[in-house]
Symmetry: D3
Subunit: 117 residues, 6 copies
């Protein structure tokens, strides 16, 4: 399967591919290849749907206080049709396990993504 087809597959799974991921094709082709395969495996519908996986990713990124990743994951999630209510309830788990700022950064990300897109 060509790289471009693989990338299209990932986009269908995660909603939106970050620019830095695309840049990696030139910056580090070997890692790029590996990550394309990894992403294709991890985000596929399986025991959990890709939507649920996105909600998990937002909650995890928020718990890690990784505001950049929260925004990227949220942008993708929106394109897959994940609702604000679903993200809210995922973020509450982050609040409980990782504190109020985690939750707040998630809420800010949702607001930012809604405004931007």
């Amino acid at each position: 399967m060509t790289d471009d087809k693989k990338l299209k597959e990932i986009e269908a799974k995660i909603g939106k591919i970050p620019q830095i991921f695309k840049d990696l094709k030139d910056l580090s082709p070997e890692m790029y290849e590996m990550l394309v395969d990894l992403d294709n495996m991890i985000w596929a519908d399986g025991a959990l749907s890709r939507k649920v996986k996105k909600i998990i990713a937002i909650a995890v990124a928020a718990a890690l206080r990784d505001t950049h990743a929260v925004k990227e994951q949220t942008a993708g999630a929106k394109k897959l049709g994940v609702t604000d209510e679903e993200i809210e309830e995922g973020l509450r788990v982050s609040f409980l396990l990782a504190g109020m700022p985690s939750y707040m950064y998630g809420k800010i990300a949702v607001k930012d993504v809604m405004k931007r897109e």
Copy 2:
């Protein structure tokens, strides 16, 4: 509503209540009250089911390398009927966002909980 009834409600929602949570009733009654209400709100079925919330909690705890919390969450998840496959796919998201050890600690927790219960 009495405290005992509230605690039963939480148990129905999260599968298993950690011992330290129960101890808190004596150690710090004011925090205990607050956390009982917080838990009852956060773990309720809503836009996401309590099962999905447990899978999120395991992924978040694993991403934080919080092996103690991973085990507690996994023990509760098992009682709610969350499957190994669902946990596996949630942990793969932790792997991607937080590294191989996160994933591994999740797998070890699942093995430990299965053996113990």
Copy 3:
């Protein structure tokens, strides 16, 4: 007690309420209610004064490399009359337990807050 009165109480305790906290009233009223009560409990004068609690919060946020939270906590602390020397000595504990960048982000926050206000 009305919400507005509770919010005023929190402001007296923490010095300054972040915008996102206020937004939460519309974004997620249920969480807002809970957090208002939680904040009112946690920041009250007790065995520790609200000033000491703010110094702790700055040190914790710095240790977590949470530059956003460091700035919010520092802005509030300044309004409560916490001194630069007190923040400095709290940040030294963060330095020891969480590394030089933690300390540095705290120092940068203090400088930024002083300039801004």
Copy 4:
């Protein structure tokens, strides 16, 4: 000033010196020297008392989910006369900024230290 005198000074400031710190004298004398001076500076009474610094250290260690450091700091704090109520209120700040497990690990540490000593 001799090393032994410096170490005694640190002990007076932090309540209890961890074994690994003492081992460092042989394992890595250069780092040991540096850390002795660093500890002597950071834990001295100043704008904040050594007791308040210990409470900060417990809150920071708990926020980092560093259960080992929480126990060491708590053991020292107890020897300096820090009360359970003071630790409790510091840990509530950790709860708010870093999540429920942070708080719980602090409570468990206090219980363990009380039993042991």
Copy 5:
């Protein structure tokens, strides 16, 4: 190339393969396959030698306060001939960027591994 040959290759590169990694072959064959390829790529001699990569891994694991990973990485490093002095100097970087406990957990791991093997 057969799986066993790939595993032998990894062992040559990292010194020692953790048990949980081997268990993964049964627990999650798809992830196992992926991780075998990933490990083979990441740990190969290249612009950096496998020894230097191990020193980096110890410093990173220590900085993350991941005592389990520190021990696994140190055990592997020892088999590759990494010296105590090299680990010490890598851990000093962790000390500066992530605090004294990070450094201390590294030192404890080295002591433990030396005793055990």
Copy 6:
């Protein structure tokens, strides 16, 4: 040895001194003194070269998702002659131990530093 000479020594070892570090001379002279000595010890050529130490520092900062520190360390590394390939291979270790975003933030930092200088 005068302070200026010590600072020059550090610059030779780490490639570039962050502005906040210089500001510390006025903001907190006591900490400044201590950190100058600490830096001079930690970054000296020894069992590991200063170049290898920089690669470790970039990997550690990336693993901690500390994008500010990643950029500072990368700017210094470039001045010491550390190559892109060496940073890439160090970041792969961060990827494995701390997840894809860690790696990505390192790659973004390298791109930013190259453009700026």
